[in-house]
Every structure is written in structure tokens, then in C-alpha cells.
């Protein structure tokens, strides 16, 4: 499965959410088929709430990992 990484560190919500949603929207089919997953690197705490919640409402599986100084939000396929 292909993982596409977006580094949106330095951006705040809502722009970080809008960027993330734009990328998700443009790859909706690949995500649903499970051939790709998107990984957003962000240092904005609000984004760790807004992006997973929106993605979850859209039916995707989301996980958040805390890394050194930023977060990695992984969006993939359908949620369980």
C-alpha cells in the first residue's frame, strides 16, 4: 500500500484541515480501495482533533501518532 506523506507543519487550522480535506477528497477512491494511505505531519494540536474527526465522519479509518515535536495523522481505507 502506498503511503503519501504531507508535511503541513507550520500551518494552523482551519488551513491545515482544509489542506488535509483537499488531499483526502482528491484521493477518495484510492483510499476506499485501500491502495493508498495518507500521512499528515502537523505540529498544530487543533489539527489532531479536527482532521481525525472529519475523516472519521467521512468513513475513513484514522490514527494519530505522537512523534518528536509533531504528530502523524494516518488516514486509510474504511474505518473498522
Amino acid at each position: 500500500m502506498e503511503t503519501i506523506e504531507f508535511d503541513i507543519r507550520g500551518q494552523f487550522c482551519p488551513s491545515s484541515l482544509l489542506v488535509a480535506l483537499k488531499e483526502v477528497n482528491s484521493r477518495a477512491d484510492s483510499l476506499r480501495q485501500g491502495s493508498v494511505r495518507l500521512c499528515f505531519l502537523t505540529d498544530n494540536r487543533d489539527a489532531t482533533i479536527t482532521i481525525p474527526e472529519s475523516a472519521s465522519n467521512m468513513g475513513y479509518g484514522v490514527s494519530v501518532e505522537k512523534r518528536e515535536g509533531y504528530y502523524c495523522i494516518v488516514i486509510s481505507g474504511k474505518k473498522d
Partner: protein
Amino acid sequence: MAGDKQKKKSSGPQEGPRSREELQQEVRELREKYANATQYIRRKVNQLLTVMGTAQLRPEELDDAILIELDPIGIVSDSFLQILRNVKETNEQLRTAHDELTAIFDSAGMGILVVDREMRVLAWNKKSEDQFRFDRSVAQGRFCHELLCLVDHREDCPARKAVETGRTCQQDMDLAGRHYNMVATPIKDTAGAVSRIVLVYMDMTERMQAQEELQRSKERYRDLFENSTDLIQVLGADSSIRYVNKAWLDALGYQAEELPRLSIFDLIHPDCLDCGPEFKSVVCGDRDGRFETTFITKQGGKIVVEGNVSAITENDKFMGTRGIFRDITERKRIETMVAAEREQLAVTLRSIGDGVITTDINGNVVLINKVAEGLTGWKQTEARGRPIRDVFPLVDEKTNEPRVSPVEQVLRTGRACELEGHAFLIARDGSRFLITDSVAPIMDRDSVISGTVLVFRDITERRKLEDRINKSEKIESLGVLAGGIAHDFNNLLNAIIGNIDIGKKFSVPDSEVYKSLVRTEKASTRAKELTQQLLTFSKGGAPVKKLAAIGDLIRDTADFGTRGSGVRCEFSLPEELWDAEIDEGQISQVISNLVINAVQAMPRGGTMHITGRNTTVKPGEFQDLKPGNYVNIIVQDTGRGIPQEQIGRIFEPYFSTKEGGSGLGLATTYSIIKKHEGAIDVESIVETGATFTIFLPASPEHAGPVVPPSVADPDEKRTGRILLMDDDELVRETAGVILDLLGYSVDFAADGKAALEMYQKARSSKTPYDVVIMDLTIPGGRGGKDAIRDLLELDPAAKAIVSSGYSNDAVMANYGWYGFKGIIIKPYTMDELSDELRRVMGQKGSSGV
């Protein structure tokens, strides 16, 4: 962005030339519109971002140009599309789940009821309706206890507990006569408060009943297992002991906790090592089986057990064995005892001198002892199971008709019985045995007849003996009678014969008187013979025995007897035939009688055989004979034989099959042989002949040469003094005449006393008597037997002749032993008296005789 502005500026409407102000005014207006539009977009974007749950746009974050370029509304609306799609999919899943739940709800094997926290019914499944039979049209909204419990507020209601505790509660309840397991699960709302309760209730009635039944079954099994008196064991595949019952532990003396240390092979008694491999093959599952072994108890005791062992398998895999054994130690001991007893009984039975046959209830032979085997001719193996009438057929002794078996009689009546009279047992080979028997029923412990025991005895020999005793008694009684009259009769005959002799002396031969005297003499001689035969039955007829070569006697007598008949006599009389102690006259009479009978039995002539042989009789060989040496004489004819029914009577006095027969011939024969301490028997087959067998006591000594009788000179004149003692006057007178005629001088005495006085007187006067003739018995006086002692005391050299027609003791047979020098048997002729006197007077007198 700057390019876009320029483009927009150049693409405005081409109108006529306007003033600067106009243009400036239009610019101001346009800027204002643009700003309003941008504000509107920002507001809508912020509205959408708020719906998305995120922060609003900050003016410094995006300028208007970038806002337009970014197109947040497009992004959010695209996201919304996806959210809607997700919602739709989720709804579809929920609907499917709902349908599935409904199906489960209705098809569940247990009742499900959903109530609110006030216990009002919200939903229920089909099973609930079936279980509690409530009307579904009125169920909705009713309190659940109205439908289920039918009582308000049960203390143990699990639904209430679930409401109170917020946790799943479980309770067993009896509702409507059935037993339920109720589970109440609370459903909480988003605030965590219990809003509903799902009640699931499972009908446990059948399961409970099954469990109770299982429990009872277990109890029964346990009771059987633990209270069984048989030893029950279960072994593992490695022969270890898994579990055993109480009887097993008790019998072998172990505690349950000791079992894990034991193997079954620790329990097989060393004496029973032989059965080890066999046992092993069973406990290892190689074969199922029933067998016997001996266990050793913890205390070292022996227990003989018998039982069954079978394999326990699971999926064809051998798991061990189960075995049930019974302690048969006591039974074995009893069996051994019974076997020993049976053996003893069998040995006893076989050793019994009588025949014994036992039968079953149907009269079939069960057991037959050795004597019975010998008599019937049936062996035990052949006789077993056969009807008694086949093995033991009886015919009546007299009628020869078949007789009802006494066994059948006993089986019919249940009472012991004895054979009435006697019967012949017909043996397998046709031979007949006269038997007496008795039959008794065999009763079992309930006094029910289970068979019979027949005991019988061959009395053929006994019967013969009895017959002989009867015969002896008859002859003896006749003998007593005959003896009683013989004394007087002989005295009379003595006088008659003596006087005939005298008459003949005084008459002219061939004269009528002489002829008449000869006829009278003949008749008198016959009378004498008849008297002699009668006397033979009496004790007076005791044989005067001496050792004699019997062969010559037989030959002479038989030759004489067959002379003139058509019968030829063949002899088989070996040289080495022993001599016998016999009265030659009497034995000659015996042979003569037998030969005469044989000749008469063969009127058309024929051959008779006389065989003599030496025989030594062993103890017990013949009932009638003492052990010792005997001469066995067999007289065999080929005449008409003697019918079976007569053969038992032919030795009886006055029994005759011949017309005109006296019936004394064979009776005399019998008597003579008996008095010789011998035996006589007869066998005969009709139309084939008769065989008489005689045994006479023999002696290894040989008789001396036969001295020819002296021939008296009839005209010889004798001298001498004779004293004649006789109580009978006729005898005295007749003898006196005869002695006088012979030339003797004679004196008379009537009894012993007178005779002694006369003898004494004569001796004193120097005219002693040469010979004293003494009558043996003198009724009412002193007879010769007593007088001889006194006489010899007086004169040891006295010569006395004993005279009697009847001897009731041994004196006549052994006269020499008593001191007599001679003997003259009445009635005697003149010649006989003359010969004896001459012989005695010729002897030298000696005091030692």
C-alpha cells in the same frame, strides 16, 4: 494573482468614453462590491468550518485572492459528499443489523422481553408468547409481571436488580409451573442511565428434569457400584488401578489412597502365575473374557475369583479394562468338598456288594454301580440316560411275564417299595438272575421327588441254598420217621430172614416149601433194601466210611447197571484219581441210581459219560463244600433231560417223574452224598440230556489191596460160646436157632446189665464166652454202647460184635474205636452172621484194641 486582476480589468465592458470621476466612482463602487462578495465568502466559509468543527478563518491567514483560489467551500462540500455517503452506508448497515437482530429475536429458543425501567413491556419475541401465552394485542405497555410472574413485585426479580445495580443479573425462577433461568441485561442511554432492560429467560424445566434424572441415575449407578458384593475394578491401559468399588477394597484389604501405587499384577497370587499371561492378555485388551484367577490380599490371604473383563476403548484406542469379579473362595472350598464327597460316594457306591442304579425323575438311568454293571451287562457310559426298563428288565419268577419296573411304581407313588416276591432280571446277554430289590425315592430339599435309587441283589445262589436246606430238612424229617420205625422193622425182618434161612436148612431144595421160602426170602430182601434206603435218610444211615479207590467202584457199578440195556457207558477215570473216604455200599448205590436213571432216560439207547477228576476246592469257591481235596464225578447222559420246573424238586423224597418210581432213588443219592460231606448238583437241558456232578472228599492216601471176602464152608461145624444180647425176643430166638445150627453154644441176655452179669459169671466158672453180640440200642435198658465199656473194663480181651438195624450215633460207623471187634447189620442172613463170627473169632484177642 496580479495577472488575474489585470485580466479582469481588461475584460470589462467596452462603453463610450467616461469621465475620470465616473471611472473613479465606478472603481469605488466595484471595490465595494468585491469587498462585500469576499466578506460573504469568508462568512460562508467560516459557517462551513464551524459545521466541520474547526476554527474560523483568520483574515491574516488568507488574503482574499488566496481564499478564492483555495476554494474552501468546494473542499468542504466535497467532504460533505463523502460524509453523506458514509452516513448512508452506515444506515444501511444499521438496517441490516436491525433485521438480523429481529430475526434472532424472534427465532431465539428462549423468551426475550424488553421493558423500560418502570417494567413496562416494550417488545417481546414469539417464544415469549408461546411460553407465557399472553395476548399480543394487549401486551404492549403492560407491566411485565402481569404477563410473566402474575404477582406484583417479586423480591427476586432480576430486572429490578438490573435497574438498581446497572449490571446484568441472573435468577432461577419458577413461573407458571415451569422452571426458568432469567437473565436481565440493562441498556443504558448516552447519559449512562438504565433506560431499558432486556430480559432473556430460558425454560430449564426439561433440562432440570434431565439433570435430576441424570442425578438419580448416577445415584443408582453409585449405589450399584458401591453396594455391589462383587468386586468391580477399572484399570488403565498401563494396568494401573483407576477406581474400584467398596467390595473390592474390603475383599483385598486396601484403602482407596493406596490404589495409585498398585498394579493389577501386584494382586495376582503367586500360586496363580499360570493364569498371569492369560490375565495379561485380557487386561491388555487382547481379548475379552471370562476367567478365574486368585488374588492376594494385602494381608497375604488368597481369594479365588471368577469374573469378566472387557476392554474400554475410545475411538478405537485401548484405554483400559473394566472387570467384575466374584469371590468364589467359599464356593471353591465347597466344590472341592463336594467333589471329594462325590468321589467318596462314587467309590462307596462302586464298592457296595449289591447292585445300585439311580434314575432321574423320568426313570432314566443316572448312575449304575459295578455290581449292577456286572449283573445287567450295561456299562455306566452305555446305560446313562436310558430308560430303566431297558437296562433293568424284569420277568416274573413263576409266570415269566414282564413285570412293571418298581422304579416306575416309586415315581408314580413317591413311596419306597420292595419287589413283591422274586423276579428274574434279564441281563443284556439274555442270562437270568433271580433278584430281590428295593427302590426308594430321592427327595430334594423341598421334599419333591427328583429320582430313585434301586438296590438289588442276585439271590440265585441263595435260592439254590435255600432249596437245598428245604430239601435237607424234608429228607431229615423223613429220616427221623424212617429211623424211628427201622429199629423195630429190622428186628422183625431179622427174625423173618433168619427163620427163612432156618426153614431152608430144614427143607429139601427144589421142594415146594423151599421154593416158597426162596420167594419169601426175595420179598424180604426187597423189604430189607427199602428199609435200608429209608434208613439212609436217618442218622442211623451214617456211612461206614473207609478209604477206597473210587474209580473201580464206579466202573463196576456202572457196567453192572448198563448191562443188558442199549446204553453204552464211556469212562474217563484217570489212574491218578484220588481215593475217597467212602461207604462203598452207599456210593455204589449212588452210582447205581444215577446209571439206572440215565438208562431209563435213554429208552432208545445212547451213550453216557462218567468222568472223574481231582479237584481242590478253595475257600469260598462253593457254598456247600469245605475247602479241600475232592474227587469230582460227572455223570452225563444224552437222554430226554429234566424240565426246568422239575429240576428243583428231583432230590425230594417221593418226587418221581417215572411211572412207578419210588421217589427215593435220587433222594437217597442226595442224602448219601451229604452224609459223605460232599455235594451233588444237576443241570439239564430238555431233549439234550442231564448232567449230575458229585464232589466227594478225597484223600491223598491210597487204599490197601482189597481183601477178598472169605468164603464160608456151609457145612463147617463151629464151636464156641456166644452171648447174644438183644431186647427183642424174636431176634433172640431166631439168632439162637441160627447159632445153634452153625454149631455154637449160645446164651441170651435181654439187656446190658444181664449180659455183664452173665459174662462175669461165665468167666468165673471158667466157661467164658468167646464172642458177645450186642444190640446197640435197648429201649429202657443198657444198650451195647454203654455195655461195651463195662465189658472191656471187666475183660479187656472181650470180643464183642455190635448189631443194629439203626445207628443214631457214630458207633456203627466207628465200631472199632468203641472197642467192638465186629459189626453185623440187621437184618442179617445166616451167612452174614456166620462170616462175621468167623472173622472175629479168628482175631487174636488183645487188650489193646
